[in-house]
């Protein structure tokens, strides 16, 4: 899997490069729109991480061009700009996902992984983990064979965790998937739902299914 990183901020680019290579992706970093053009002409890439503000132009303009020329690989936009506003604009112009700065590396990895997976395989519809069984088609959840009564939001939340077992999910990634925005973070809505979900899914009081990673997010063990 080859990933092209278009980012003019050297340090940020190095972070992304190292992290992606740690999980066995091969990468190339470029710093300008022109370099990105050349890199794409040279060799094929499976995905692109694209910063919006580049020294020689707008990331969005470049993306628009690529899409117009039939480039169909997934693109993840990185931006320091207004999260809500540019996200809509970027997705409209053909980006597959959007990540606002300052971002978490875990989140970037999760998003890249999910972009590449979307490309590769079909989604599973039934998940099994630690005695929890989640059936997306029947819309049922059971714990050790006993049905668990979940609200719509709780079900969606569990689905996100089941799809990313063992991975750290950042708060903003989860809220974006469940509420389609980051604003819920303010109200601690995520924490409230996590507390409820933990109570409903705890097989025994000492055994915790979810681990809190302070300052980052949650992880399903």
């Amino acid at each position: 899997m080859r990933i092209l990183i278009v980012e003019d901020e050297q340090k940020v680019a190095q972070f992304i490069k190292r992290s992606l290579e740690e999980v066995d992706y091969s990468t190339k970093t470029v710093r300008t729109c022109a370099e990105a053009h050349d890199a794409l002409a040279d060799s094929p890439y499976d995905a692109i991480v694209l910063d919006l503000g580049l020294p020689d132009g707008e990331g969005l303009t470049v993306l628009k061009e690529w899409r117009a020329n039939g480039f169909s690989e997934p693109v993840l936009i990185l931006s320091a700009r207004d999260a809500v506003h540019d996200r809509v604009k970027g997705l409209n112009l053909g980006a597959d996902d959007y990540l606002a700065k300052p971002f978490s590396m875990e989140e970037l990895l999760a998003r890249v992984r999910s972009l590449l997976r979307r490309k590769l395989d079909k989604k599973a519809t039934v998940f099994d983990h630690h005695g929890i069984r989640l059936d997306l088609v029947a819309h049922t959840a059971t714990l050790g064979g006993h049905p668990v009564d979940l609200t719509g939001r709780e079900f969606a939340l569990l689905e996100v965790f089941m799809q990313n077992q063992g991975r750290v999910l950042t708060r903003s990634l989860i809220t974006e998937k469940i509420w389609d925005s980051h604003d819920e973070l303010d109200a601690n809505l995520l924490d409230v739902y996590m507390r409820r979900l933990r109570i409903k899914l705890a097989a025994s009081p000492d055994e915790q299914v979810f681990k809190t990673i302070r300052g980052v997010g949650y992880q399903m063990i």
């Binding site: 901020e9 340090k11 940020v12 972070f15 919006l52 503000g53 707008e58 990331g59 931006s79 320091a80 700009r81 207004d82 999260a83 809500v84 506003h85 809509v88 606002a100 700065k101 300052p102 971002f103 978490s104 590396m105 875990e106 609200t151 719509g152 939001r153 708060r171 389609d180 925005s181 980051h182 604003d183 819920e184 973070l185 303010d186 109200a187 601690n188 809505l189 409230v192 739902y193 507390r195 409820r196 990673i213 302070r214 300052g215 980052v216």
Partner: protein
């Protein structure tokens, strides 16, 4: 008298009335003078008739002869004139009978004609002539003249009354003419606030003082608007410039944490660092939103949709939040109405208001959410049973960086997002051409926040002047 307008009217009326009164007085004096001149002439003519009745040539009449001729003349013109003859030492030698018991006082020396009062006749005009050693006084009663002047005064008073009415009318008209342009300036200037700095006072093509004033004020508003937008652009650019270095700090901290080689105390510090970065990011994000919304750089995702559905979807999460805070949530009414709005943004408003209400409502309290329509506006209110706000701060809380209740712990301030939550609510509603206001419940205690937006929101008119939009606002 406070207002310039009423002072202007009063002054106008006073000046007109004074002028009119002066003119009438002058007319009276002039008329009187002419009348007296005429009477004096008639008196003189009457006197001259006396010797002419005998023989025109002879002038040396004896005193007795003269007196008898005067008596003759007096008899003939008894209806019109009074006659009196005095000797050189002032004794009255003859008095015409029509004087009754009255006596004409002697003329002051050197004044041949004067007006005096004659007993039993009234005011008379007396002319005195010398005939040898005798003084002959011919007098005309002023009864008819008095009548004339009485009617003159009557007419004068009526005219003054009419002029008073007319001048008040014209005074008011004048006031409107002079002050309406100023009132228009006043109204526009009052309307212009931080939310619509682009509005201008309509200045006509004219070149008068008021138009000059309007132009000057407009220039001032231009400068004000420009600096206002520069301020927000600065805030926008600054918060944006902060994000990239913040990314690097966050990535470094995360890497430290994930490597797992830290002691527990070190882990704790890094976690605190990450939490602070998250808080800082939230504040920057909010500041950026406010800045963009102030310069009109937010594009709303407007859709005509069911307002009731938004409230219903929101209440799903609201119930959970309230349960957690041990507060009862009551949806008092939720009218099914269509409205045009950006659902994500209005959801944020609702969530901000609810979080605020929860923060100030003690456990066991109640939060009431209502949604209804009035005069084609969709209204939503959120009431709590908390302590409410001091009346002086009810307006302020919608300003940026004003925190509700200053005695809060730092934890709740962090949740509050540095006092930007309500400011964001307000700017979202302004984008929807709506309003938000807070009031203490009566009977209290508790706070009620009400917001409303027009049900039909037309295509968004430009809130910012072209020069702001033409400049590239955000350079990443």
């Amino acid at each position: 008298m406070k207002s310039l307008g009423s002072r202007l009217t009063v002054w106008y009326v006073v000046v007109v009335m004074a002028t009119m009164f002066g003119a009438l007085l002058f007319g009276h004096w002039l008329l009187n003078r002419e009348m007296m001149k005429g009477i004096d002439l008639l008196n003189k003519a009457e006197f001259q008739e006396i010797p002419m009745r005998a023989d025109a040539g002879s002038r040396d009449l004896s005193q007795a002869e003269l007196l008898s001729r005067v008596a003759q003349e007096a008899k003939l013109d008894a209806a019109l004139y009074l006659f009196q003859v005095r000797s050189a030492n002032g004794d009255i030698l003859f008095r015409s009978e029509n004087m009754g018991t009255g006596v004409l006082p002697p003329n002051p020396s050197g004044i041949p004609t004067w007006t005096c009062n004659c007993e039993s006749v009234g005011p008379v005009r007396v002319s005195e002539f010398r005939e040898g050693p005798l003084k002959v006084q011919v007098a005309s009663p002023l009864r008819s003249v008095d009548r004339l002047f009485r009617s003159y005064v009557e007419v004068g008073v009526i005219m003054l009354g009419m002029v008073l009415v007319v001048s008040i009318f014209f005074g008011l008209w004048l006031k409107r003419l002079a002050l309406d342009p100023i009132r228009r300036i006043q109204q526009t200037a009052a309307r212009i606030s931080a939310d619509n700095l682009s509005e201008r006072i309509p200045a006509g093509a004219g070149n008068d003082e008021v138009t000059d004033l309007a132009r000057l004020l407009n220039q001032m508003f231009d400068r004000l608007e420009k600096s206002f937008f520069q301020l927000w652009r600065f805030a926008g650019n600054a918060s944006h410039e902060l994000k990239t270095p913040l990314s690097i700090i966050r990535l470094q901290s995360e890497k430290l944490l994930m490597q797992g080689s830290l002691s527990v105390a070190q882990q704790e510090s890094v976690q605190q660092q990450l939490e602070s970065i998250a808080r800082l990011t939230t504040v920057i994000e909010k500041l950026l939103f406010l800045a963009r919304s102030e310069v009109g750089a937010i594009d709303l995702n407007l859709k005509t949709q069911c307002a009731g559905a938004l409230i219903k979807a929101f209440s799903e999460d609201a119930v959970v939040l309230c349960e957690e805070a041990k507060v009862e949530l009551v949806i008092a009414k939720n009218i099914d109405t269509q409205a045009t709005f950006d659902a994500a943004l209005l959801r944020q408003v609702l969530l901000n208001l609810l979080s605020n209400a929860i923060r100030f409502t003690p456990a066991g309290g109640q939060i009431t959410l209502s949604s209804w329509t009035r005069e084609n506006r969709w209204m939503v209110s959120i009431e709590d049973t908390g302590p409410g706000l001091p009346p002086s701060t009810v307006e302020e809380v919608f300003e940026p960086f004003v925190r509700v209740g200053s005695g809060l712990s730092t934890a709740s301030i962090a949740q509050d997002g540095a006092g930007l939550g309500l400011a964001i609510c307000r700017s979202i509603l302004l984008l929807h051409h709506g309003e938000i206001r807070g009031e203490n419940r009566d009977p209290g205690p508790g706070l009620r926040v009400i917001f409303d937006i027009p049900c039909e929101l037309a295509a968004q008119p430009a809130r910012t002047p072209a020069w702001v939009r033409s400049e590239q606002y955000a350079k990443t």
